[in-house]
Amino acid sequence: MSSAVDHLEGLTSQDYKYGFVTEIDQETLPPGLTEDTVRFISAKKAEPDWLLEWRLKAFRHWRGMDEPTWPNVKYPPIDYQAISYYAAPKSADDRPKSLDEVDPELLATYEKLGIPLEERAALAGVAVDAVFDSVSVATTFREKLAEAGVIFMSISEAVREHPGLVRQYLGSVVPPSDNFFAALNSAVFSDGSFVFIPKGVTCPMELSTYFRINAMNTGQFERTLIVAEEASHVSYLEGCTAPMRDENQLHAAVVELVALDDARIKYSTVQNWYPGDKDGNGGIYNFVTKRGACRGRNSKISWTQVETGSAITWKYPSCILLGDNSVGEFYSVAVTNNHQQADTGTKMIHVGRNTTSTIVSKGISAGVSNNSYRGLVKILPKAEGARNFSQCDSMLMGDRCGAHTFPYLEVRNKSAQVEHEATTSKIGEDQIFYLNQRGIETEDAVSMIVNGFCKEVFRELPMEFAVEAQKLLGVSLEGSVG
């Protein structure tokens, strides 16, 4: 084992004059992004030609694109040639061997969150596969899903086992050329999840990435594709927690949802990527494209997100309401503290008749952070009777942080009804004192006030997730008042 580490160290400390080296340890690629990188990744996964071509097309497109500059966030230029595109999956040798080797501050956070011990190890990246009884868990739930006809596997597996389905839907909601980060993801995505719910099936359990990630490190360019056939229902949970690293890491994921007639997809995220330290060093750049297409009549896609992590968040989970009477929902809590920056919101595109959308966004800023809501409601000419309700509330903690709201409205049908409400409040010293005066500690008081503020969003989350989200908020805002 130590020889492998030495070998790696020897290689990585070299100056790479040729940019691309093939004779290295197979788990890692040197920094740099060329067509060869894309070919390497595709070959590593033994992908069919069509997928390689798809990736290459995305890559060629990406080369001609510019990084978006419109978000209300600031960061030094990213050198895309300085990133390793197949480095994310750390080899088992390189991971911490036990919890003793993991940063105690990180462990303390997990403990506060009430994450079970075995899971803490998994989240911290400890090589626990031998200890963690994930195999039996995985097997039981796989059998149960198979009985119902539900497909839930990594997207790499799905490419091999269900190539027809993947080919039909991949990139059909977020085309590879959609935007800079989506194009990058399409070229180099490492892995991700694939879910297929057949006609008339209600998925017998909540699907969670936790189940799968224990088995495989999906890296920073994951791709998720969920297809719900006619009259099927599924609830998908995504939890993200990343270890602390001093350097900034780019995370550019793509999530695509497809709902056919009468289908319902509920997608919930609790995102707690490492936000950087108190001085703004390190942390994840979370540049994510999430979009759902309500293709069928009466279909419904609901996004719920609780975002407390990442140094920078750039993400707008959206719904394209194509089918008549289809419904799009977006419930969001975005918390920024210290030097975090978030520019997040949604897009609701009304195409079909009598389509309705609801947007509830709660932004909480503390420290010297910056929190922006950016949302587009677009009613196309044929969207007769479309309705939207948007509510954007911001809460400020302290006087050095910022909250911004950028609502965009494009209404091209006169019968549409669009409502927008927005409030900004400051967490009151008098609210905290009121709770103090009843015997409640300041920390608990802040968490109570903030959780109350976010209630409309939390009640959309599945039960266990809501509990986790509440705790997470408390941890994220620790020390921001008083």
Partner: protein, 256 residues
């Protein structure tokens, strides 16, 4: 039980309390009266430990402890309750959740076992009924959308749940109609016991018809200028605060 000695305090460098002396024994009801700006609410805030009030001199002893050294939540857990003049709204937090957290914080401090959800609900229902509040209030967000009267009743409800040793009522009568005033007073009177004391801060003597005090103090320009029994309040009602202030000024002039 509560001993205030030569208390000087203010906000933003401006002195409001200029040497308050006050002794409240266990089991007694003290009324603090005074004109606007005399320092009544400042006294309540300083005793409860509100941020932003600076004590520049003097001391406050509560049950042999130095009160001014304690954080507000520690004061609360030790039995100090402030019924707010302007109770604040906390959207999205139900009265039930809030009160259960508060009661359990106090119970934990006393070394008592925390209340289960069921026991809490039974206790809350028993306390809320006599105050003429529907138990539905427990499901509403703290003070959010409450009428003025509801807010004040809710304060008294909280007081009866927490069973404090020293209750400070800061102008609880302001904005109450006569019926609500009676209900609130009944709530306070039902808590009167040899183990509890009350500091009733009010502008008007009317409240004292219902909550009959053992002692009445008049606060003027940051000092207690006159103390007496209930009859002092009645006298005040007859003559107004100007009378007291003139008398106080005369005494100062005479060097008394």
């Amino acid at each position: 039980m509560l001993h205030v000695r030569n208390l000087h305090a203010g906000v933003d460098g401006q002195e409001i309390l200029r040497g308050v002396n006050l002794d409240v024994e266990l089991g007694s009801v003290h009324a603090i009266m005074g004109p606007n700006g005399s320092g009544k609410s400042t006294l309540a805030s300083v005793l409860a430990g509100r941020d932003g009030y600076e004590v520049t001199a003097g001391s406050v002893t509560y049950a042999t402890q130095d009160l001014l050294e304690m954080d507000p939540e520690i004061r609360a857990r030790n039995g100090i309750f402030l019924a707010f003049q302007y109770p604040v709204e906390i959207p999205g937090v139900t009265m039930m959740y809030f009160m259960r957290e508060a009661v359990n914080a106090v119970y934990r401090h006393r070394g008592q076992e925390e209340l289960s959800a069921g026991d809490f609900l039974r206790l809350a229902r028993a306390k809320i009924g006599p105050l003429g509040i529907s138990p539905d209030m427990l499901k509403r967000a703290v003070n959010a959308g409450f009428s003025g009267g509801e807010k004040k009743r809710s304060e008294i409800f909280q007081m009866s749940m927490l069973e404090p040793t020293l209750s400070i009522l800061d102008e609880t009568d302001s904005g109450l109609d006569i019926d609500a005033l009676k209900v609130v007073s009944r709530g306070v009177n039902s808590l009167r016991s040899p183990a509890r004391s009350f500091l009733v801060i009010t502008h008007y003597q009317r409240l004292l018809n219902y909550i009959v005090p053992d002692h009445v103090h008049v606060l003027s320009q940051g000092r207690i200028v006159r103390s007496g029994d209930r009859s002092l309040a009645l006298e005040l009602e007859k003559h107004g605060y100007g009378w007291i202030e003139e008398r106080a000024a005369e005494r100062v002039a005479l060097g008394a």
